[in-house]
């Protein structure tokens, strides 16, 4: 008898029939960041990015001193930053005051950039000739249980902070799917200028009540390296073949240079056959190794929360705070 009753209970718990998926995305969501999307240590790092020849060349010519141009100082924060930045999300549903239907989702809560309005009312995109903005223009549609957002008309920016760049012709598509207390974001960046094929990243956000963890301070450019302001025609860049950091990841982690320089071939399983002959793991990890935090009152810790370091930490010093690297 007890067994029969237990069986009944198990039936109800086992989900013999489908359940209803949640779709309400409103609220505060904290980034989990247990992947390396935001990781940025070695200056030349295109691993996992399907760049084309132009994208690779642009990345290798990049000199971080160029950020001393005030107009560039916030270029790291295009819409794609939602996938690789450290900040959380606040999602607000904007209702039509009369019909109560959904006009837009306002996605905010990102430090360093403003909110993104995701228009749900089917309005057409701006003209191809219209000026672009940092946040671009976004429309949203429900696809089953997911909100699909398509963003165009955004400005050039970083697709990996200080390492790889997206153009003003990119289109970003991302889906937000809620699963209980988390949202999975799948992002697809399509850039005919710098990518050989779409760049796909995912990130997970968890429901949070801790609104104190949501910095809303904007990116405010300031003057940094004096010489660019004394001679505004200067353009910091590395000549082809002269980037001094190109071998750093290989030296530190044994990853072959070809893989460090990215490309579509390097993101599929077949590439492991090539790597097997060319990759030699270092004897042990020496930098950005993660692991549990040090015990209280003990010695130096081995990493923060075990998560990948936030974007920018351990990267090259900001322009002006040390001599620029030699050519």
């Amino acid at each position: 008898m007890r067994r029969l009753f237990s069986l009944a209970l198990l039936c109800s718990l086992a989900g013999a029939a489908p359940a209803v998926a949640q779709t309400d995305l409103s609220g505060w969501w904290a980034r989990q960041s247990q992947n390396d999307n935001g990781y940025a240590s070695e200056p030349v790092d295109l691993i996992g990015i399907p760049v084309n020849a132009d994208g690779r060349a642009k990345a290798l010519s990049y000199n971080i001193a160029s950020l001393s141009a005030t107009e560039r100082q916030c270029q790291m924060y295009p819409p794609w930053y939602i996938l690789y930045g450290p900040f959380p999300l606040q999602i607000i549903a904007e209702q039509d005051p009369v019909t109560q239907k959904l006009m837009a989702y306002r996605i905010t809560g990102w430090g360093d950039r403003g909110e993104q309005m995701v228009w749900m009312d089917g309005r057409p995109r701006p003209s191809p000739n219209a000026p672009h903005t940092h946040g671009g223009f976004s429309t949203g549609t429900w696809e089953g249980t997911s909100l699909k957002v398509v963003t165009t008309h955004f400005k050039m920016g970083d697709m990996k902070r200080h390492r790889a760049f997206s153009s003003d012709r990119a289109t970003m598509t991302y889906t937000l799917t809620r699963h209980d207390d988390i949202i999975t974001v799948t992002g697809i960046l399509d850039d005919p200028v710098y990518l050989a094929e779409p760049f796909v990243l995912t990130e997970i956000f968890q429901r949070s009540n801790d609104t104190n963890g949501f910095p809303l301070t904007p990116c405010e450019p300031i003057e940094e390296l004096p010489m660019l302001h004394e001679n505004p025609a200067l353009v910091p860049h590395y000549l082809p073949g002269k980037n001094p950091f190109i071998n750093e990841m290989t030296q530190k982690r044994g990853i072959p240079l070809e893989a460090v320089l990215g490309g579509p071939e390097t993101i599929y399983p077949e590439y492991r056959k090539k790597l097997k002959d060319t990759y030699k793991a270092p004897a042990k990890c020496v930098d950005s190794c993660g692991g549990p935090p040090a015990p209280r009152g003990g010695g130096p810790g081995q990493g923060g929360q075990g998560a990948a370091p936030p974007a920018g930490r351990g990267g090259p010093p900001p322009a002006g705070r040390g001599a620029p690297p030699p050519q």
Partner: protein, 355 residues
Amino acid sequence: MRRPTTSWKTTATAGAALLALLSGAVGWPDGAAAQQQAARGGADADGLDVQKLRDDVYLIAGAGSNIVAQVGPIGVILVDSGTTEAAPGVLAAIRRLTGLPVRYIINTSMDRDHVGGNDLLTASGLSILPGAVVAGAGLSDSLVSNAGKASVLAHENVQTRMSEATGAAAYPFALWPTKTFAFHAYSMYLNGEGYQVVHQPAAHTDGDVIVALRRSDVIATGDLIDTTRFPMIDVARGGSLQGLLDALNRLMDMTIYNLPIQWNDDRTLLVPGHGRVYDKLDLLEYRDAITVVRDRVADLIKEGKNLQQVKAANPALGYRSEYGTDRGEWTTDKFVETIFAELSKKPGPAAARVN
């Protein structure tokens, strides 16, 4: 960059924006028509795309080149006039904006795709000049008032080049400017707007001007910026790489970016000769691309490379997809060849890079 200690909440701004939308203060085009226009990439039935940039300033794209139209109390001021073939469509587009006549055209260079509409558009317009001459002065009213047609301003070199062209390259007289200036700038207040017309010597050509609409903070750049290809340096008509870079650096000085808060969209708008509307970051990218290509060619020349070797080294790599083209009269290769030729004559400026 510095982060202020106090947060900058955008709720009030966002709420006001939402209210503006709901109240119709921001113009939403009609549903079906907008969908159809969107499907055509923004173009109307004439293949033109009219974009409102400011309250009274419009971009007319698709006329062979970009046209800026400023609508004010006395009528319409145009920067450039597109091609001859597109002129009727341009006129129709203007009529949809206002019934007032065209009063003045400012040409940014002598390129045919920028001056081709001068005849039709001036003839459809009205001179700003009184056209009443004192009896006995020896001048006809018609001469003074440009026969009642709207005026055309350009740098003197434009008229010189037009008048020198012969044969198949000849320009019909009706396309010539009716007013020229020979020196640095010619500025005027017209139609409620301040027009700062600044000559940029030896850039795309030797007759280029930048036209800054001061009150509206819109700058028409002509082909100093061309988003569809690397900027054309017309050496035969007095253009040069260094002059072009000087022009872009001057534009940098004249342009205000949306600082300090970059999601606030108030900023100078730049209307290039072809392609979408730019702002200062777009201009910076563009200028940097040209400078980097120049630096690479200069470095290869220093290594003793000849033209074929320079082209084989692909100095435009990293920028070819964004700015270059391999079709038409002005390809990426031609751009590199022109840079090579100029730099081979004399060295580029020292310390052009920070490394």
